[in-house]
Amino acid sequence: MAISVDSGEESRKLCQSQGYTFTFLSDPQAETIRAYGVLHEHAGEGGKDIARPAEFLVDREGTVRWVNLTETILARLRPDQILRAMDGLRTASAP
């Protein structure tokens, strides 16, 4: 799930141009972004509050199992990082 302050219209354009098929969710008032402690105040256009890059892996019970908080907006999550993290959880939870 990708979450940002963008409107559904903006996200649809992004999905179309990049071919993304996963779910995009809009948080225009940044309420969920704030609840997750990842608000970046006044960092958007015209001083708008936006999200800082952050990733959380949540299990079926609602517990956070893995977190990635980058230190620079240049370095973003790579697909192999999350796949390795999920492999690690699977191994750990195996009987």
Binding site: I3, S26, A54, G62, E71, L74
Partner: protein, 147 residues
């Protein structure tokens, strides 16, 4: 014939400055596409280094052999501009890009993920609890967006 007009064009200065511009303006349209050159701008710093070498050799030619090469004035202008562009690039990459909140209040591993209801592209509400029931894991990716 005037001695000035017979001096050679100091092309290293021009190529050096062009390399500086390439170094500064190639990150977003090109190098950002590859994780290796995106996470740390190695390629751009290498281009800046190459630009610096070209400008240094060009400046040496202009000042050490002024009877043969032109470029005393253009060399100084290009070098100062290149340093300014390099400074701006470093400011953006190593200060502005890192100047983000540390997110100390973010839920940690083992803590509960706050419930939410957000709207998807089809304007239908999506809840975390609904996503959890339908999937073994839910990955939440917060991103800056395009506003």
């Amino acid at each position: 014939m005037d001695a000035t007009s017979r001096r050679d064009w100091n092309w290293l200065l021009w190529v050096g400055f062009a390399t500086t511009l390439l170094a500064a303006f190639s990150y977003v349209p090109f190098f950002v596409k590859f994780p290796e050159t995106r996470d740390f701008p190695w390629a751009n710093l290498a281009l800046f280094a190459a630009a610096g070498c070209l400008l240094a050799i060009g400046m040496y030619r202009a000042f050490a052999r002024p009877e043969r090469y032109r470029g005393k004035i253009s060399g100084v202008i290009f070098s100062v501009l290149s340093l300014a562009v390099f400074g701006l690039f470093c400011f953006g990459s190593f200060y502005a890009a890192r100047n983000i909140p540390r997110a100390e209040a973010a839920p940690r591993v083992g803590q509960r993920a706050p419930e939410f209801t957000l709207t998807g592209l089809d304007s239908k509400p999506v809840t975390l609890s609904g996503l959890r029931q339908a999937n073994r894991y839910v990955l939440l990716i917060f991103y800056r967006g395009y506003w």
